[in-house]
Symmetry: none
């Protein structure tokens, strides 16, 4: 079965409102095994809306429309759907009575324009969908083997109607159709590898494979792999996903940091908590962003001890105990200074782990031997007497260099914590993984 989604409202075309309804509907339809071919947003315009509905019905078995079923002049979805399908609407006396009761309870007469909220298809062409939290019921048309569903634009009303009425109805429809089933997805989240390199490692899994499908997406200095399976039942779909996930993880190893809603800072925080470790940060070019990222996680006060933003050379000496001679000899952006900062942060704060970064974020300050984007990161672990460090050459502007540095530093902490737990992650990989 194929579906299209139409979102109605001039405010969508003006960009004043971001359409989240269609994403909600997409996820629910995917869960039922219904493929969404297209989503469209159109304004409060009768001719253009009914044209869009007709276009959608050319290809789709189910068309779901949100918005435009309120009481105002602007609300034209009922008329557009009935025009596109060539069916007439009749007034529902029960709904009209309950609308009148709604206004009577508020002590005001019902505006005449509200009357159109009582319109519904003839019983053999469809029915009303009850709205338990608003005045406007939805409409469901069944005409010539096609289904058109009209829902409110208010997310809470729409979602409740979908969950209680539309989803069960469509599930029955799918079950009646041969080849019904469910579609499920899982996202594997990676850090430290670009999209094309990622794809090349799993190209054979992504290619020419229709079920499950494997696709890569680039995010903000991260990439994800999405595995989507279609199967007669949820358990079968999950088993198919598990199998592909295992193969992807085998190939990508520690590049995969989590799944679905996981975020890097959260996964790292979980590892910190499990290890019972504490961390202090010492930042130069990132200027506080690493501490900011670590503390974005609720509960991070259990493992984040404190942070130093040592922008000036004097502050590196005074706050972290970096030797002035080290800075003079190697420069503030150097491996020895990064290591001294990490050790200093741990020693001064009493945290087990010190995490440090010093680099040239640009746009100025670069030299031939240390161009903009040169970033040294270091981790010192008091318990394991370990120092891990890396020199990075990051592309992009000041913001990119700072954000990549932040991401890479937190990933270094994650990999360090992982390494002391498992034998699967080779030390060498942890110590020299490439720029993300």
């Amino acid at each position: 079965m194929i579906a299209e989604i139409i979102s109605v409202g001039t405010e969508l075309l003006l960009g004043h409102v971001i359409d989240t309804n269609s994403a909600f509907l997409s996820r629910r339809l995917a869960g039922l095994g219904i493929s969404v071919y297209r989503k469209t947003a159109v304004g409060d315009n009768l001719a253009r809306l009914s044209h869009s509905i007709r276009e959608a019905l050319d290809k789709a078995d189910v068309v779901i429309i949100t918005g435009g079923i309120g009481p105002t002049e602007d609300d034209v979805t009922r008329e557009a759907a009935s025009a596109a399908l060539g069916v007439e609407l009749v007034e529902d006396e029960g709904v009209l009575a309950s609308l009148r009761a709604f206004f009577a309870a508020r002590g005001t007469p019902m505006p005449e324009s509200n009357r159109k909220q009582a319109l519904r298809p003839h019983p053999h062409q469809g029915r009303l969908i009850p709205n338990e939290v608003g005045t406007a019921p939805g409409l469901l048309f069944e005409v010539g083997g096609k289904v058109v569903v009209c829902l409110p634009g208010v997310p809470r009303e729409m979602e409740l109607m979908v969950e209680r009425h539309v989803e069960p109805y469509l599930a029955q429809l799918v079950a009646g159709n041969e080849g019904g089933g469910v579609i499920l997805s899982r996202i594997l989240k990676t850090v430290g590898i670009g999209e094309s390199a990622l794809e090349s490692r799993i190209l054979d899994l992504a290619h020419g494979r229709t079920n499950p499908t494997v696709a890569t997406y680039a995010g903000r200095f991260e990439c994800e792999v999405r595995v989507t399976a279609k199967a007669p039942s949820k358990d079968e779909a999950l088993a198919m996903i598990d199998q592909v996930e295992a193969e992807i993880r085998r190939r990508l190893g520690a590049l995969v940091y989590g799944v679905d809603d996981d975020v890097l800072e959260g996964v790292t925080g979980y590892l910190m908590t499990k290890a019972g470790a504490t961390v202090a940060t010492a930042e130069s070019c990132t200027g506080g962003l690493i501490a900011g990222a670590i503390t974005s996680i609720a509960g991070s006060s259990n493992y984040f001890e404190r942070g130093y933003v040592t922008y000036s050379n004097a502050s590196k000496v005074e706050e972290l105990g970096v030797y002035r001679e080290t800075i003079e000899k190697h420069g503030a952006v150097s491996r020895p200074v990064a290591i001294a900062m990490a050790r200093g942060a741990a020693a001064r704060s009493g945290a087990r782990i010190g995490l440090a970064v010093t680099g040239i974020a640009g746009p100025t300050g670069g030299t031939p031997s240390k161009p903009v984007g040169t970033v040294h990161i270091a981790l010192y672990d008091e318990t394991h007497c370990t120092v891990v460090s890396a020199r990075m050459g990051f592309p992009g502007d000041r913001t990119s260099v700072r954000l990549r540095s932040t991401k890479t530093c937190i990933d270094m902490l994650r990999r360090h914590l992982l390494q002391h737990w498992t034998v699967e992650i080779a030390c060498s990989e942890s110590k020299s993984h490439p720029a993300g």
Copy 2:
């Protein structure tokens, strides 16, 4: 002129990603006087995408497509646009060379699939749109009086390309369409006031006025007022804008922090530099984000001395010299502790100004007298022996509270610097401006 927007990506149809790009584009097109008739989202499917482009071209003069111009097999927008328009693409040697250089700098060979990112239309059928923050350039087709623009799906890359290249191009196109005039816009940026309060202060300027138009937009804890004028010449358009801007500034005063590309941190940095002042930060709930925001500006090392992220009580005592008794008596989230942190940051670092924040970002840690969102901010100025402080009650989740706190703290610094320069900004306003 009429436009349609097409968002490309199977992840959109699966509901895994919410499309914010089309809302951004809608606002920008509206600002140029271009009407958006429809927005469509389609999957990574060559046939369906080129069909949608052809459908859009039936009605629209301009079709803007986001997504699907990356290096992977899934990325079919280039091919779909050229197929829909019936034009061929050629390889751009300059782009190919810079792609190769990009990979060479990373010490890896360029994957063959990246090569298609160097494709562009023949010079008489369009051109490339430079991408200053990513590898994939955009494409602009001009064929048979129609314009098709292909942009990346990554919001930051797409937005920058629109602002720097697509908007100026379309503005000229609109002006050419309407007999050689120009359309110019200026954005007044405000902080510390919500959109509806802002709109109510300038409602009479925004309403029923067609030239110049005045419109408000809500951004990320900021709002902007966009003034757009249409006139036969640039000078006339600028004069019209100047006049409206003066009236808006008269009403909004210090709420307006800048224009166009100004960012709050940059304007504040400019004031710091002019004042020859230095600042040190002491952060609890913001966890480094204030230092991170200040140092987002190139050249901030001239005025940012250092930062302390004192998450634990011990670190507030040890790093900033806050008395343990002050914390015990008033709690870590209190005005006395915020002030002591600000004074401590200045005293310990030798910076003239100390800027501090302590608050409850949530989701846990709130009490009836100090609910989640309670944030104390303080500024101490050594030269002027001044303390400014405020208690905020911010709405929203952990991220919102942290980002609002950051914004408000930097605005407090800006207003403090302004106050010591001009008599226009009343002290009272500076000391008790409302939550943003």
